[in-house]
Amino acid sequence: MSSRDLILGRVRRALADVPRDDTPYQQAVQRDYLREHGGRSVAETVELLAENLADYRAIVHRCADEELPELLTRLLAGRGSQTVLVPPGLPPYWLKAVDAARVHDRATSTAHELDRVDSVVTACALAIAETGTIVLDGSPDQGRRRITLVPDHHICVVRVPEQVVSSVPQALELLDPTRPLTWISGPSATSDIELDRVEGVHGPRTLEVVLVTGSGG
């Protein structure tokens, strides 16, 4: 007998007490928890996102769409970044004023090559206000998962308020499980040594989030 059949057989014998007409899934789970916590206006939801991002040590910036190229240029120059990783679908005008050399997100790049890149700029799929989380789903304006992981500096642009949801339940409704998802709440962190929080062990040590309004493309 295969181990598969062995295990499934054991499971079935173990569940001999469960009646055939056991309560179906839809009725077995009461979902009387909240879809979001507290009523907020759209502006308050964006404000909450900004506060929670900052609480988790992301650096938050705000600007209007037309100011974005100038802001991104300033942020990259401020870190002295010589090279910037660019996902294929990033709106070209975002980086039009940037001096840093573009490194394109290619399947053939090695991890060592990515490790030499100073910064990465991406969009996101959505952001969750209550938890201060940005979610990336690998769409063309976000690129492969590893490009937001290996470089030490990640700038993520969130279109507000369109891309902001209040809560985790609202986020899951909108996300596509067939895509690989990365949920990011602040920069990489550890508390393994005497519970002292240290930012950045393996992921980017600096996360900057730009909340951009009035974007039309």
Partner: protein
């Protein structure tokens, strides 16, 4: 055999040694109290905690009751998404499968995400025996591995080590494994973390095979979920060409939507955060993004035997948040190593004897490693009634009776030398069938604390003779919860920076000390929780 630490003494003896290690006790006390206070604040921030907890319990119970169906559904979904599913009845089989899969890649090194399932089966040792080096990449696991040590906590495995010890371990051992620690390494956490970053980055960038566990598997979609803080998980899940995930069969949830419950309760329960820094989900393979080969190894290793026990099966709901460890007065004194398994604390006391059977001395002693104060049940985000299972297992140890072992029904004989415990059992059983009496008893106990004996009478004597009785909490959690409405009334009992709850603008920052280098509030910085 797997999972039992060889030569491990039974709980009373191990606890005896632990309580005499003052460094260990100091480290543990600091850690458990810190996490405990922050967690209470993080939980108080969400007003629907009780409803989330109920839903979590119901989802897991329903899944367990139909586990065969959901396992088959998961297998189909993972396969359709480009993954390969393997089934392992026990630890040896799981280790054989993983070893075979690694060898098939031609590699002799793997990078690992912290995973309790792989610790349970002793995977690192099994791989090592076949000439394959497994590198732990979680900072705490790295400390444990370099220190040739055992993890002592689900969430913060190196909680028993202080910064001076960690510095010494890094300076001494890193060179043996790869990039040595920098000259003149000090014991500041930032410098130690940086040394780990450099040491491990070298391994990540060249790794061809990653091994992980998973916090959740979604039957409907075939999606796996890993929750973590450092990014080492993301490194292992996305940089290698081959990913092998080793997961217990109980980690399933039926639907994608179910994650909305656990992604709210797990971070707050484990690291007291609104959300852990990184959550990764993947469904099979994705063209040109991440590993192009994905294997899922589903392990039983005692889980179906646990499932066969109608009282004990609830232990399989556990999402490994570790909240129960941090509130347990016995864990706080004894430390994780005393439990002799990868699952320490209250959950270990009920899970290990069920996964492994109560045949060994340590497993027979584990159901007694508790004061039955009930704090573990109160904090558990999936409402596992740990005291109920403890009493049930004590009864099994003392009186014997029918159990399932490796899928076969057998009748256990009463354990020798436990006759005296039968009387204690009867008393405990009465208390549990009379919940009112139990609650009164607990409250009385805490009010009459100074009259409590220093050692336990009867069967508990051997255990308590080697240690102080755990201090009873000044106020039972249950009372505190009722009095403070789950911490929402600000009575100072929640600490951690004065939780205010969400105000009308929806903002309810905890602590909020975000200006300086270190937060004082809810951001514990967190860790990946045990997969």
């Amino acid at each position: 055999m797997s999972g039992t630490y060889l030569g491990m003494p039974a709980f009373p003896k191990a606890a005896h040694e632990a309580v005499h290690n003052t460094t260990l006790r100091g480290n543990l006390r600091h850690a458990t109290h810190t996490i405990r206070a922050k967690r209470a604040a993080a939980v108080a921030e969400v007003s629907d905690w009780a409803a989330l907890r109920d839903a979590g319990k119901q989802i897991k119970d329903h899944t367990l009751r139909h586990l065969d169906r959901y396992l088959v559904q998961l297998e189909e979904a993972v396969t359709a998404a480009g993954g390969t599913v393997h089934w392992a009845a026990d630890a040896d089989e799981a280790n054989r499968i993983v070893t075979y899969l690694v060898k098939a890649t031609g590699e002799s090194e793997v990078v690992k995400v912290k995973s309790m399932a792989t610790q349970e089966i002793g995977l690192n040792e099994a791989l090592e025996a076949e000439g394959i080096h497994a590198y732990e990449t979680d900072l705490a696991e790295l400390i444990v591995q370099l220190g040739k040590d055992r993890p002592s906590h689900i969430l913060v495995p190196a909680i028993h080590r202080n910064r001076g010890e960690i510095r010494d371990i890094f300076a001494r051992e890193m060179g043996e494994w790869g990039r040595p620690a920098p000259e003149g390494l000090t014991d500041t956490p930032a410098e130690l973390a940086d040394a780990a970053r450099l040491h491990l980055r070298e391994k990540f960038l060249r790794a061809k095979v990653g091994v992980s566990g998973a916090n959740f598997m979604v039957a409907e979609t075939g999606t796996l979920v890993v929750v973590e803080s450092e990014g080492n998980g993301r490194m292992c899940l996305t940089l290698p060409e081959t990913l092998i995930s080793v997961v217990g069969i109980e980690k399933i949830v039926p639907t994608w939507q179910d994650l909305e419950v656990f992604l709210q309760t797990l971070p707050r329960s484990s690291t007291a955060e609104r959300m852990n820094p990184y959550t990764s989900t993947w469904t099979g393979t994705t063209a040109e993004d991440g590993p192009q080969t994905f294997h899922l190894v589903l392990i039983d290793n005692g889980r179906t035997d646990t499932l066969a026990d109608e009282v004990g099966r609830q232990a399989l709901r556990c999402i490994r948040c570790s909240a129960c460890l941090n509130v347990c007065p016995v864990y706080e004194r004894a430390g994780g190593h005393a439990y002799g398994s990868v699952y320490p604390g209250p959950i270990g006391a009920i899970l290990s004897p069920q996964l492994r059977g109560t045949g060994s001395e340590i497993d027979a002693s584990l159901p007694y490693a508790s004061s039955l104060c009930g704090a573990c049940y109160e904090v558990c985000p999936v409402a596992i009634d740990i005291p109920e299972v403890l009493v049930h297992l004590r009864e099994r140890v003392v009186q014997g009776g029918p159990v399932t072992e490796q899928g076969n029904k057998v009748v256990l004989k009463p354990a020798k030398g436990h006759a005296a415990e039968r009387a204690a059992m009867r008393a405990a059983r009465w208390a549990f069938s009379h919940p009112g009496a139990l609650r009164t008893g607990q409250r009385l106990a805490s009010r009459t604390r100074r009259f409590h004996p220093r050692t336990l009478p009867g069967p508990g004597k051997a255990w308590s003779a080697s240690r102080d009785l755990p201090a009873l909490p000044a106020e039972p959690f249950r009372d505190w919860w009722q009095r403070t409405n789950g911490g929402r009334t600000n009575d100072g009992g929640t600490t951690g920076g004065g939780t205010t709850g969400r105000g009308s603008t929806g903002r309810g920052s905890t602590g909020g000390g975000t200006t300086g280098g270190r937060t004082t509030g809810s951001t514990n910085g967190g860790k990946d929780t045990g997969k």
